[in-house]
C-alpha cells in the first residue's frame, strides 16, 4: 500500500499549511499512524487541540471527516449500524400476496439495502479517503469500548446477518480522551498513544500568530508569556489554547498593544472561567509586581 506521507517533515509542512502547528511528537505520530495503519489515541487536558488535529489532518489530506461523538449510553445502533426495521416491515407487508417464500424474503430483508450505516460502518465502507474521529471516547462506559475493538484492530465490522464488512481503504483514525477515566488496556494496546499537553511558550506564540492574523509579534509574545505564567499557578482549570486565542483576539479588538497588570486583570475572565481561579490569578499578577518592584 502506498503511504500518504513521505516523511515526518512532510506531515509537519502540510499541517502548517492548514494552520495547525505540529511539534515533533505530533508530526511523528501522524506519520507513524499512516505507516503502521494504527489508530491514534490522543489524551490531554481540554482545549489543547486534540479534536482540531483530526480535523486538520482531514483537511490537509483532502479526506472526508467522519465523526463519532461519544456519550454515556452510546450503543451499537448509534455507533455501528442498525437494521431499518420500518423498511423491512414495509417489504414484508408489500409481499402479503405470498409469492416469494419465507427464506428468500428473509435473505432479502437482511441485505445491505435495509442497513442503516452509522459513523463507524460508514467510515469502513467509504470509497473515498476518510479520517475517522472518535471524540471523547472516555465518556462511554468501559463495556461499550469493546464495540470499537474490532474496527480499530482489523478495520472491519462483523454483522451477524450479513457477514464481515471489510474496509475498502484504511482510514486514519483518531480517538480523543479527556482522561476522565482510565481507558481499557485492550483499547490502548490497539492504538498509538499521544499525550497532547499545553504547548511551550514559543509554540503557543506561533499558534497565536497563525490563528490571530492581526496580532503584532510583540503582543503575541506577551500573551504567550502571561498565559504560561498563569498556568504555573495551581488552578481548578488552566487556560486552554483556545482560550489563549480568544484572549489574544479580544486584546486585538480592544486595540491593546501592550499588556500591563491592569489590562490583564480586566480581561483575565476570558482565560479563566472560575471565580476562585480569577481571584487567584489577579492576586498573583498584582502581588508579584509589588514584591519584585524593590
Amino acid at each position: 500500500m502506498d503511504h500518504r506521507f513521505a516523511d515526518v517533515a512532510e506531515v509537519r509542512d502540510k499541517l502548517t499549511s492548514v494552520d495547525y502547528l505540529a511539534d515533533d511528537a505530533i508530526a511523528g505520530i501522524v506519520h507513524l499512524s499512516d505507516r503502521l495503519e494504527k489508530p491514534i489515541l490522543i489524551e490531554g487536558p481540554a482545549g489543547t487541540g486534540k479534536t482540531q488535529l483530526a480535523k486538520s489532518v482531514a483537511e490537509m489530506t483532502g479526506a472526508k471527516l467522519i465523526r463519532l461523538q461519544c456519550y454515556e449510553g452510546l450503543d451499537e445502533a448509534k455507533a455501528l449500524y442498525e437494521w431499518n426495521y420500518k423498511k423491512q416491515l414495509l417489504r414484508i407487508q408489500a409481499d402479503r400476496s405470498g409469492e416469494t417464500d419465507w427464506s428468500e424474503l428473509e435473505d432479502d430483508i437482511f441485505s445491505e439495502e435495509f442497513l442503516l450505516t452509522r459513523p463507524l460502518l460508514e467510515a469502513i465502507r467509504a470509497e473515498e479517503p476518510v479520517v475517522l474521529l472518535i471524540d471523547e471516547v472516555d465518556r462511554v462506559e468501559i463495556e461499550t469500548e469493546a464495540l470499537l475493538l474490532e474496527i480499530l484492530s482489523e478495520y472491519q465490522v462483523s454483522i451477524p446477518e450479513l457477514g464481515t464488512v471489510e474496509a475498502k481503504q484504511i482510514p486514519l483514525v483518531f480517538l480523543t480522551s479527556n482522561n476522565t477515566r482510565e481507558l481499557s488496556e485492550a483499547l490502548k494496546r490497539r492504538c498509538l498513544y499521544l499525550h497532547l499537553d499545553y504547548p511551550d511558550m514559543d509554540r503557543e506564540k506561533q499558534i497565536v500568530m497563525t490563528r490571530v492574523p492581526d496580532i503584532t509579534e510583540h503582543l503575541a509574545n506577551q500573551v504567550a508569556r502571561v498565559v504560561r505564567s498563569i498556568r504555573q499557578l495551581e488552578l481548578k482549570k488552566h487556560p486552554s489554547v483556545s482560550e489563549t486565542i480568544d484572549w489574544a483576539r479580544t486584546l486585538v479588538l480592544l486595540g491593546i498593544d501592550q499588556i500591563d497588570a491592569e489590562t490583564a486583570t480586566e480581561t483575565v475572565n476570558i482565560l479563566l472561567k472560575y471565580r476562585t481561579d480569577i481571584d487567584k490569578a489577579v492576586k498573583d499578577m498584582n502581588a508579584n509586581a509589588d514584591t519584585y518592584s524593590g
Binding site: A25, E141, Y193
Partner: protein, 501 residues
C-alpha cells in the same frame, strides 16, 4: 544503522557477526528495562515498536524517542519513567550527543574494552577536571549568563556540558549517586545569583518596563534556569552511564511509578503527581456508584413510549418500554483519621475527600484523632483545596484528651451525634490504620452502622503484614465491615474502586 551501532557497548558488537541486528538487541534490552520499571508493555506493543522504528530515520534521536513513546507508553504518568530509561539506553548514541571532551573519550574507550570492571580512574580523570579548554571560570560564567539571558538552547546545552565537566568532579568508578554531582555542579554555578543579576540587568537596561513585565521576565528566566538544571542532570546521567554501563545505571535510576508510590512515604513532588491522578479516580468511583443504580431492575411501564414503538409493529404493542429508574444520589460519609501516625496518609486522604466532594453532591466528611468533628462545610465553602485543608487542620475540633488516636471514642462521638443521619442509601468509608493506643475499641458501633447503612468500607494505609500487630485492632473492626482494603498507593485505590461495582 551505522550511527547507532557506532557507540554500541561490547555485548552488541559481539553479536554483529550473527544475523540479528544490534539495534534489535538494544531495543529488547530497553523494553525489558521498561518492564522492570513497572510499565505494562505487552507483546503486541513490543512488536509495534519494532515495526515503528523501521519507518523512521534512525539517526534522528527525537523521532526515535517519539516513535518508541507512541507505541510503548500508553499512560502519561509513565512518561517520566520512560524518558529516564530512554536517556540511559540511547544517550550515548547519535552524532551530536557524543561525549566530546577528552575525559569522556577516554572513558568511552575504556568502556569499550572492559565494561565489567569499569575504567580505571587516574590520570585521564584529573586532566578532565583541570579545565583544559582554556576558559577561565569567569569566562564560563559570562557565557552561561549570556546563554540564559538570550534563551539560546544550543548554548545552554553546551554550557551544561562544560559545567559538569568542570565542576562535578566526576571520577570513574566512584560509588556516589548523581545527586552528589548535581549538587557540586550547581553549587559552583550559583544560579540564584545569576537570576538576580539577570533581573537587575533587565531593570537597568530599560527603565520604563512595568512591574508586570518584570514579573513575566522573572518567570521566563526561572524557566530557563530549570531547563539548564535538567540539561545538567541529564549530562551527569550520560556520563554515569558511560562509566557504569547501561544496565547498572538503569537499575539505580529506577523509581516507583506514580501509581505505586506509597502514600505514607511520598515526597512533595510525588504528592503533587498523586493529587493530579486522584481526579480521574474519584470520577471512576462516582461512575461505578451511579451505574450500579441505573442498571438492574427497570422502572415502571412507559405508556407513551410503548404506544409510539407499537406503530412500527402495525399498532401491536409488541415491545413494552419501561422508564429508567431515576438514579438516586449516593450518599457518602467519609470518616478519616488525621492523627500523627497516619499524617502523610491523612494529607492524601483529605485530597481524596475533597475530590470526592466535587464529584458527589452528598458527601459528608468527618475527621478524628481522639475526638471527631464534621468538616463537610470546609470543603464545600471553598474551591481551594489548600485553604480547606488548612481550615481542617486549624479549626476542626478533633482533640478530646491528649491528641492520640482513640478510635473507640471517635466512633462513639460519631454515632451519638450523626448516627441518625446514616440511612440505607449511605456508604460509609473509614480511612485509618486502626491503631487505637490500647483504648476501648467500641467495635459494636461499626456493627450498628453497618446494620443501618448500605455498606461500610475500611481503607487501611498500613501494609497488611502490620495489621493486628501492636495496638492495631483492624481485625476486630474488620468482622463488622463489608470490606477492608489495604490502600497504600493509587493502584490499590483503583482496585478498590473497581471492586465497588
Amino acid at each position: 544503522m551505522s550511527t547507532v551501532s557506532k557507540n554500541g557497548s561490547p555485548t552488541e558488537s559481539n553479536d554483529v557477526a550473527g544475523e540479528p541486528s544490534p539495534l534489535l538487541d538494544l531495543l529488547s534490552g530497553f523494553i525489558v528495562e521498561l518492564r522492570n520499571a513497572g510499565l505494562p508493555v505487552s507483546l503486541t506493543e513490543n512488536l509495534d515498536a519494532m515495526e515503528a522504528i523501521r519507518h523512521i530515520p534512525l539517526e534522528d534521536r527525537t523521532a526515535l524517542k517519539y516513535a518508541l513513546a507512541a507505541t510503548l507508553v500508553k499512560n502519561n504518568s509513565h512518561w517520566k519513567a520512560f524518558e529516564i530509561v530512554f536517556d540511559v539506553y540511547f544517550s550515548l548514541r547519535g552524532e551530536e550527543y557524543a561525549l566530546d571532551s577528552e575525559l569522556s573519550d577516554a572513558l568511552l574507550e575504556d568502556d569499550d574494552e572492559d565494561d565489567e570492571q569499569g575504567p580505571p580512574g587516574g590520570a585521564d580523570g584529573e586532566k578532565g577536571s583541570g579545565g583544559n579548554s582554556g576558559m577561565t571560570p569567569e569566562e564560563l560564567a559570562e557565557m552561561l549568563y549570556n546563554a540564559l539571558a538570550n534563551g539560546d538552547q544550543q548554548m545552554m546545552r553546551a554550557m551544561a556540558r562544560e559545567s559538569v565537566r568542570r565542576y562535578a568532579g566526576m571520577e570513574p568508578g566512584r560509588p556516589v549517586g548523581g545527586t552528589y554531582y548535581l549538587y557540586r555542579t550547581l553549587r559552583n554555578l550559583d544560579l540564584d545569583g545569576v537570576l538576580e543579576q539577570l533581573m537587575q540587568q533587565e531593570q537597568d537596561s530599560s527603565e520604563e518596563t512595568s512591574q508586570f513585565e518584570q514579573r513575566l521576565k522573572r518567570d521566563e528566566f526561572n524557566d530557563r534556569i530549570e531547563a539548564l538544571k535538567k540539561e545538567i542532570e541529564s549530562e551527569i546521567r550520560r556520563r554515569l552511564v558511560a562509566d557504569r554501563g547501561v544496565e547498572a545505571m538503569a537499575k539505580t535510576l529506577r523509581k516507583p511509578l506514580p501509581e505505586d508510590v506509597d502514600f505514607m512515604h511520598a515526597s512533595r513532588e510525588e504528592m503533587a503527581n498523586l493529587r493530579k491522578a486522584i481526579y480521574p479516580l474519584t470520577r471512576k468511583l462516582a461512575v461505578r456508584l451511579a451505574r450500579k443504580r441505573r442498571r438492574g431492575r427497570k422502572g415502571p411501564l412507559d405508556f407513551r413510549h410503548t404506544i409510539r414503538t407499537s406503530l412500527s409493529y402495525g399498532g401491536v404493542p409488541a415491545e413494552p418500554k419501561f422508564r429508567n429508574p431515576r438514579p438516586k444520589k449516593p450518599e457518602i460519609m467519609v470518616i478519616a483519621d488525621i492523627s500523627g501516625s497516619v499524617a502523610a496518609f491523612a494529607r492524601f486522604t483529605l485530597h481524596l475527600v475533597y475530590a470526592l466532594s466535587s464529584q458527589f453532591t452528598q458527601v459528608r466528611s468527618f475527621v478524628f484523632i481522639d475526638g471527631l468533628d464534621e468538616v463537610t462545610e470546609f470543603f464545600e465553602q471553598t474551591d481551594d483545596i489548600t485553604e480547606a485543608i488548612h481550615r481542617v487542620n486549624s479549626e476542626a475540633d478533633v482533640i478530646w484528651v491528649d491528641g492520640h488516636s482513640d478510635y473507640g471514642h471517635a466512633l462513639e462521638v460519631f454515632w451519638n451525634n450523626y448516627g441518625k443521619d446514616v440511612g440505607p442509601k449511605t456508604s460509609v468509608l473509614i480511612l485509618g490504620d486502626a491503631r487505637n493506643n490500647y483504648h476501648a475499641p467500641n467495635s459494636w458501633i461499626i456493627k450498628d452502622i453497618k446494620e443501618r447503612a448500605r455498606n461500610v468500607f475500611w481503607l487501611n494505609p498500613e501494609p497488611k503484614s502490620y495489621w493486628d500487630t501492636g495496638d492495631s485492632i483492624i481485625g476486630e473492626y474488620a468482622s463488622h465491615c463489608d470490606g477492608i482494603f489495604e490502600v497504600r498507593n493509587l493502584r490499590q485505590l483503583e482496585k478498590f474502586a473497581d471492586n465497588l461495582a
